[in-house]
């Protein structure tokens, strides 16, 4: 029994070790530290209307640290700092467009979940439609070819075999 418990504990330790190794690999790979201090709770400014606007805008902006979250969702410290910037600027009377431009000037189109249409993003916007169109075209061509070839007609012999198979007797098979 105690042996079992020991084993269970050992497994836990190994899991911890594996996790630590993975973390080291991850950190080593990027060799790059993010500020992780006591996450300062995002501080809402007094005005709930401003807060609502800030949150809405924050959901459209990508966090640079955890790239699959918006700055409104992310707990990364930089995301909090940026959310506070958004709040402050909205409270100071700036428009959503101005705040967005402020962040794009510093971090690039990358921060926008909906990037603008321009030369470098054409593939992003048009690509899916091109692919769908190519798929439809291929399907259409295949269907047309099949229609042209028509349904195959059976010779008398083949028809007899088919008939036999359908009846469940296999006598036609070897004829």
């Amino acid at each position: 029994m105690s042996g079992n418990r020991f084993f269970a504990k050992g497994t836990r330790a190994w899991q911890g070790f594996a996790l630590a190794v993975l973390l080291c690999l991850f950190v080593g790979r990027f060799g790059f530290a993010q500020a992780t201090g006591e996450v300062p709770q995002a501080r809402p400014v007094g005005d709930p209307a401003i807060e609502a606007r800030a949150l809405k805008l924050g959901h459209e902006l990508r966090c640079l640290v955890c790239q699959n979250q918006s700055i409104a969702e992310s707990n990364a410290e930089l995301a909090h700092d940026l959310m506070n910037q958004v709040r402050e600027q909205l409270a100071a009377g700036k428009s959503e467009e101005e705040v967005r431009a402020y962040l794009v000037a510093r971090y690039g189109d990358f921060v926008l979940y909906q990037p603008p249409l321009k030369a470098s993003t054409v593939a992003l916007w048009v690509g899916p439609f091109v692919l769908v169109l190519a798929g439809v075209l291929a399907l259409w061509r295949a269907l047309r070819r099949r229609a042209r070839e028509g349904t195959p007609t059976l010779s008398a012999d083949e028809a007899a075999r088919a008939e036999a198979l359908l009846r469940g007797t296999n006598e036609g098979e070897r004829s």
């Binding site: 990027f30 992780t36 700092d81 794009v104 510093r106």
Partner: protein, 198 residues
């Protein structure tokens, strides 16, 4: 007609080539929109004399590096020796921007400190670091709340900007500068800007 059967193979080879290329790219290296733009101005307290404010204007007329670091940043430890060498052996002017020295440290609770205390603690930590590990900086400044770093589009430390004699940002290096990064990425650009010997 036979060629038709090669199409899937050709598509396969093209996909392999595409993935071989794309998986080498690091999605964390976000290209900076600030390349080719003037380095944002700032005036922040110097680590060696906090009453003096310093900024990019002090470096006009020569190419230089702006290095974003912090004493809590592990990768900066690796990088620091390289920076000291660059400053001493190649005479590269480097300015240090100490990013959220106290607030960025996971082991400290900055909310308990007064602004005065935060500044004192940051100065002490930065000075200790530079005394112990060598000081590669023309000057280092404190960016306690990380505002200036946001102006530079910084999203992690270390990051380093190469700025030309006219104050234009020419290149951004994300992550620590090691021997290879200097030799392959920064040194050629540094030399092209008329910077001193490698």
């Amino acid at each position: 007609m036979k060629l038709k059967y090669l199409i899937p193979f050709v598509i396969f080879v093209a996909l392999v080539a595409l993935f071989a290329y794309a998986f080498r790219l690091d999605p964390r290296e976000v290209p900076s929109p600030l390349i080719g733009k003037p380095a944002p101005a700032f005036a922040l307290p110097r680590v060696d004399s906090p009453e003096t404010l310093a900024g990019p204007a002090d470096l006009r007329g020569q190419p230089w590096l702006l290095n974003v670091w912090a004493t809590w940043c592990v990768a900066c430890r690796e990088e620091h020796a390289m920076l000291v060498r660059l400053a001493r052996e190649a005479g590269v002017p480097i300015v240090g921007l100490d990013y959220k020295e106290i607030r960025g440290d996971a082991e400290l609770d900055a909310s308990r400190l007064s602004p005065q205390e935060e500044r004192e603690a940051a100065l002490l930590r930065a000075r200790t670091w530079l005394t112990q590990r060598g000081d590669p900086y023309r000057f280092a400044v404190l960016d306690l709340d990380g505002r200036v770093a946001i102006d530079y589009g910084v999203y992690g430390v270390p990051e380093t900007f190469l700025i030309d004699a006219g104050g234009i940002i020419r290149y951004k290096h994300i992550g620590p500068i090691d021997e290879r990064a200097w030799r392959e990425e920064l040194q050629p650009r540094w030399a092209a800007l008329g910077g001193g010997k490698p």
